[in-house]
């Protein structure tokens, strides 16, 4: 598989996330990295020219960073690729660079609208739409995992945002070490502690975001919520929302409830859960 990595408006965070992948030396024996702007010997213009001259095409085109709505070259490269992967929230939704500039977007989306660089019906040479790996940054296992599936001849099943279900079908909440606190509605009153759930006061988006951050750990060892930081929902189109560290509440009830939970059910259950919460979960312990 010939891999061509392109960077547009980016902080290079996805590149450095990718470099965290543990066995890159074995990976580069399985995949041929034709070009990467931060790593290769040649410059991008030269690499693109060579690629087009060779007529061999690309198996996997990776786009990192947000794009501008009028980028001809990126669009052309997407057409000659067998598979196109948008890596990171900028390439998927436009993200931070798109907040202050209307001409900036992702490959398929501009936030939640289908107003990206590529037409709605875009299919790469394999017949697949853009494979979106959202996240700020995307996890190395999601990036490499997707490339490896393609290398094995497996076309990943995608969700409504074009993301591989393998990595984005569960909530960030799954595997969170604070789940028991969540279940019994034991709230973290302060930051800086292993105890308490961060959903009620500190804006945690774990129950509202799709990612595998707590099941495929970061750098092999941890995650935001494990380090006491709320999930900011960086795999979703609305990242970064306003007021990232606070939970908006109406009459003591979170303005947004965990995905799939009704308001009535939430009120009933949380009242009971709070009342019967085990003593061991309360206080400093």
């Amino acid at each position: 598989m010939r891999v061509f990595w392109l960077q547009r408006l980016t902080c290079c965070g996805n590149t450095h996330s990718f470099l965290n992948y543990e066995s890159l030396h074995i990976l580069s024996k399985r995949l041929e990295f034709l070009y990467h702007p931060s790593l290769s010997l040649k410059a991008q213009e030269e690499a693109v020219e060579e690629l087009i001259k060779s007529g061999e095409g690309i198996d996997i085109l990776i786009v990192e960073g947000a794009v501008r709505t009028d980028e001809v070259e990126t669009r052309e490269l997407c057409k000659i690729a067998k598979y196109v992967i948008a890596v990171g929230n900028c390439a998927v939704y436009g993200n931070i660079p798109a907040l202050a500039d209307e001409t900036v977007c992702g490959l398929s989306y501009r936030f939640k609208e289908r107003k990206g660089l590529l037409d709605e019906g875009f299919k790469s040479r394999s017949g697949m739409p853009v494979i979106n790996l959202s996240g700020c940054p995307a996890h190395p296992e999601w990036i490499v995992g997707t490339m490896l599936m393609l290398a094995e001849g497996i076309k990943p099943e995608l969700d409504q945002w074009g993301r591989p279900k393998e990595f984005y079908s569960s909530l960030t909440h799954w595997g969170c070490t604070r789940n028991e606190y969540f279940e019994w509605k034991v709230e973290a009153e302060e930051l800086g502690s292993k105890r308490g759930c961060l959903f009620y006061h500190f804006g945690c988006r774990g129950p509202l975001s799709y990612s595998s951050c707590n099941t495929i750990l970061w750098n092999g060892v941890s995650s935001k919520t494990r380090a006491g930081t709320p999930c900011f929902g960086c795999t979703e189109y609305d990242f970064p929302r306003l007021g990232l560290w606070e939970t908006k509440q109406y009459a003591g009830i979170p303005a947004e409830l965990p995905i799939g939970v009704s308001k009535r059910g939430y009120i009933m259950l949380s009242g009971i859960a709070k009342m019967f919460a085990p003593e061991r979960l309360k206080g400093e312990g």
């Binding site: 902080c11 580069s28 790593l39 800086g192 970061w218 306003l242």
Partner: protein, 435 residues
Amino acid sequence: MKVENLELPRVEGEARLELFWKDGIIEDAKVCIASVRGIERVLVGRHYMDALVITPRVCGICGHAHLIASVKAIEDALGIKPTEKARLVRNITQSLEVLQNHVKWFYLFMMPDFILLEERLRGLYEPFKGERWHSAIRIASRITMGIALFSGQWPHSSYAIPGGITSEPSVKELTSLRQILLELKHFFLSYVVGMEEAEFVKCLKEGSWRKLNGDAGLFLELCHREGLLTLGSSYNRLISGGGLYAPCGYFMKKVVHGRLKVDQIEELNAPSYSGAKPVRYRGMPFETGPLARQLMSGNLMVKSMHREFRDSFAVRVLARVLEVWSIAEAIELWIERLKEVLHEKSTSLGRFPSKATGIGYGIVEAARGTLIHRISVRNGNIQDYAIITPSQWNLGPRCENFLGVAEKAMVGLKSKLHAQMVLRSFDLCSVCTTH
């Protein structure tokens, strides 16, 4: 005069270099950085806590430095002090970020250039193939694991908050970190300098840089052959905001220790060819980064090399390589102290005030040098946010009186490749520069 417009590979983000040739000599050089992402604008009107999530996204390679600068600016504005435990942990994670950056920069960004001069080096440093290229990535990813032990993830964690940190590390994290540090030291001694620890420490004390083996030794040998020991010198004025292991101060003919005066730092308007604004201290351009820090902290090897070759390409690079050791040693001391205060609370302020007013500065040392954040908050909301990055010091454009630091360093060179190498020795980060 011949004008040459080059696109630069192996930099962070996009950048172009314009070279003006006369009789085979570079007479002028312009570093052109386009595409501003507008992060400062995105922050205005948001709650100040949002800055802790958004400013790390300025840069995927030194995002942690932005996080710490941000939290310090907020603490300064709100009049809050972090607990000692938090201060130590932040020092450690911030330093680890610098370390992974140094390793990547030397092996992934600098050394591959030498392949173009000596084909035999391919086996070692060729991207995606070279043996050392892969060992460097492997150790860098171990170091980032060390950051994640405390911060949850790297890149882009937001675990520093006003008054402290969100995590509650235990001895388990400390022992894992110690293991990673030992691996790094092993990597440094066996590959980077090619010496036993005792021998290296002896050389360090004597300032005998000529005895270095390993990749650093090979680098010096190549520089000697290419004439790079003396090339690529700029104004020979260096500045460090202090923090991590080195004191603050500046070098101008001699080392002057002491706090930087914020009111003497000036950001000028960008000329038409660059998206970056020039920065001046007391009206003059200064170079920032590892060479400045190593001079401030009095590393004898760097001092003796600097005495001989000033702020040349080779001195700049070697200072950065040797800083790996200085930082690893500093982290060991912080671990020892951290053991004593591990029982402390992680934050002096568990709940941040939703409304607050004030103006504050956060000055930190990122891998590439002094990074400054300035925040102005009213009723909890950001009125104004300004960032001065290390790349602005080093790679920022010219002003009426002076060429930019890197621009000056390229004047007089006779080879295109040398110009690119000199530019890369400042570690060009256009993503930071065009926040």
